[in-house]
């Protein structure tokens, strides 16, 4: 049984039109995924619907077989689904340390919190150096690391990351993708949404191509990258082939 199953999900914002028009896909434990597709395809919307920020208008979201439609984001987090949004989701006047501690908001046990915090600082040594710095004063890449580190505090089953490289210089983006790669070693299932389709697909196992609110295609990530027709149709002609790392 898949970890996360999304079946025929329809969703939209407020009273607006359907952005997702019937998405079906499944996420297996331990695999890493990237969702790509043109602007407006519904990639972020999909993540938000799974995270519980948006309620599906139709269809089902299942975690470990249990129907999770309409759960609140805090409930989804408690169930192990962590969402890292694309806009600054930090607390700007809190320090790095305090931001990370907030990641452990749901944890009751103070000892556990401290242990996890140590673990996060080990995984992100750059953050350990800036423990007491106000999060609002960090660089883009450092802020992204805080949000990633924060997600580790609850030891999630799934981490869904919306546009990790947005606004970051290529070298910094590479570092972020390295860290995301590290998540896989920790056994966390990673689901990315990436506008930079090449970078995104290069760092995962499996890819979903979304367009007009539904899944157009799925397959092994390197297969998608290699297929010129998919590239042309969905990923834009201007993407030049990159050397695989």
């Amino acid at each position: 049984m898949a970890l996360l199953e999304i079946e025929d999900v329809v969703a939209g914002y407020g009273a607006g039109p359907d952005i997702l028009t019937g998405v079906t896909l499944s996420i297996d434990e331990g695999t890493s995924y990237c969702i790509v597709g043109p602007n407006g395809a519904g990639k972020s919307t999909l993540l938000r619907t799974i995270a519980g920020i948006l309620k599906p208008r139709a269809g089902e979201v299942r975690l470990d077989g249990t129907r999770m439609n309409g759960s609140r984001p805090d409930q989804m987090l408690a169930a192990g689904v962590c969402f890292v949004p694309q806009d600054a989701s930090l607390f700007p006047t809190m320090t790095v340390r305090e931001n990370l501690v907030m990641g452990g908001y749901l944890l009751g046990d103070r000892v556990l919190k401290r242990q996890r915090l140590e673990m996060v600082f080990e995984t992100f040594p750059a953050l350990a150096d800036r423990k007491s710095q106000n999060a609002g004063t960090l660089s883009g890449g450092e802020q992204q690391m805080v949000t990633l580190g924060r997600s580790l505090m609850v030891e999630p089953k799934v981490v869904m990351i919306d546009e990790p490289s947005l606004g970051l210089a290529p070298m910094i983006a590479d570092q972020i993708f390295e860290k995301i790669g590290g998540f896989r070693e920790l056994g966390i299932t990673v689901v990315l949404v990436e506008q930079n389709a090449v970078k995104g697909l290069e760092s995962v196992d499996w890819g979903f191509v979304l367009d007009l609110g539904s899944k157009e295609f799925e397959g092994p990530a390197d297969g998608i990258l290699a297929d010129p027709r998919i590239r042309e149709l969905y990923l834009g002609k201007q993407l030049a082939p990159r050397e695989r790392r």
């Binding site: 407020g14 009273a15 995270a51 920020i53 609140r72 984001p73 805090d74 987090l77 408690a78 962590c82 969402f83 890292v84 949004p85 806009d87 600054a88 989701s89 930090l90 607390f91 700007p92 006047t93 809190m94 907030m102 990641g103 908001y105 749901l106 924060r150 609850v154």
Partner: protein
């Protein structure tokens, strides 16, 4: 009047203003609600205190024990009934202004209906006594009101700083989306924050009842003052509200002493306009995030 006297009077009154303003700020900071009815609710508490005093001879400060939980409950109910409907709308903040505006009108009308327009006040013994410290004379009622206000402000600080709920409230004030992501139940926290803001309004009502005479239409003066104070301090900043309140009260004491009582509100609004010309986000505000 000498400087120190003015300073002391200003601080005393300012602490009451500060408590009122911090309740209002809480509502804005956590839920982006601009509560035009805040002073109307303060009035409700004043009238309740009045009833308790007239009929049960209950000391107004003691009646805090009743008005605060009552207003907390009222706040939670109002929040849950009214606000979820407009939550998704594009002009949410504006809607809260209009909604609470309507609410204020309803409250005022009902209060007039029940209590008529007669000026009321609560007059426990300490309204007419005062304390002398050296050269300074301190009216007892102001002293007690101020002491309670300070205590409540400290209580608020402790709540926000050291409790899990308080941390959740602060997080939600800083970034609602982020708070949601880390597992804060923002709906529940918002309701709690609304209740807390209203509880502070309840306390203010009980305290004001023996500081100034009141009638149903009085809340407009108060809310204009409080809102201007918050804009001056920078919306969403409790620190700004407190500092603004203290500064205002001290300036008000000085102006009243020098030019007479009518001038003090005029100078305040003029100052507000001047500051808005130069610094539209207020003293401590960030560029307003709507």
């Amino acid at each position: 009047m000498n400087w120190v006297q003015l300073l002391v009077l200003g601080l005393l009154l300012g602490s009451v203003y500060a408590m009122m303003a911090s309740g209002l700020t809480l509502l804005f900071g956590v839920m982006r609600v601009v509560n035009l009815a805040h002073a109307a609710f303060i009035l409700i508490a004043s009238y309740i205190t009045y009833l308790l005093f007239e009929n049960l001879t209950l000391d107004p400060i003691v009646s805090l024990v009743i008005t605060m939980p009552l207003m907390f409950g009222l706040g939670v109910i109002i929040y849950l009934v009214l606000f979820p409907r407009i939550e998704g709308s594009a002009r949410y903040v504006e809607m809260t202004v209009l909604l609470t505006f309507g609410l204020a009108l309803v409250v005022e009308g009902l209060l007039t209906f029940v209590f008529t327009g007669t000026f009321r006040s609560v007059r426990p013994a300490y309204v007419s006594t005062s304390i002398h410290v050296g050269d300074i004379f301190i009216p007892s009622n102001q002293l007690y009101a101020s002491a309670v206000s300070f205590a409540l402000l400290i209580g608020l600080w402790v709540l926000l700083r050291f409790t899990k709920t308080g941390t959740a409230i602060r997080a939600t004030m800083q970034n609602r989306g982020a708070a949601q992501i880390v597992g804060v139940n923002v709906r529940r926290i918002s309701a709690f924050a609304f209740g807390t803001g209203m509880a502070l309004a309840g306390a203010a009502g009980s305290l004001l009842s023996f500081l100034f005479p009141f009638f149903p239409g009085k809340h407009w003066q108060w809310i204009a003052l409080l809102l201007s104070l918050i804009v001056l301090g920078g919306m969403g900043s409790i620190k700004g509200a407190v500092i603004g309140a203290l500064l205002l009260a001290i300036a008000s004491a000085v102006v009243t002493d020098t030019f007479g009582p009518t001038w003090s509100p005029i100078t305040f609004y003029l100052t507000l306009f001047l500051i808005l010309l130069v610094r539209p986000q207020g003293l401590f505000g960030a560029k307003l995030r709507l």
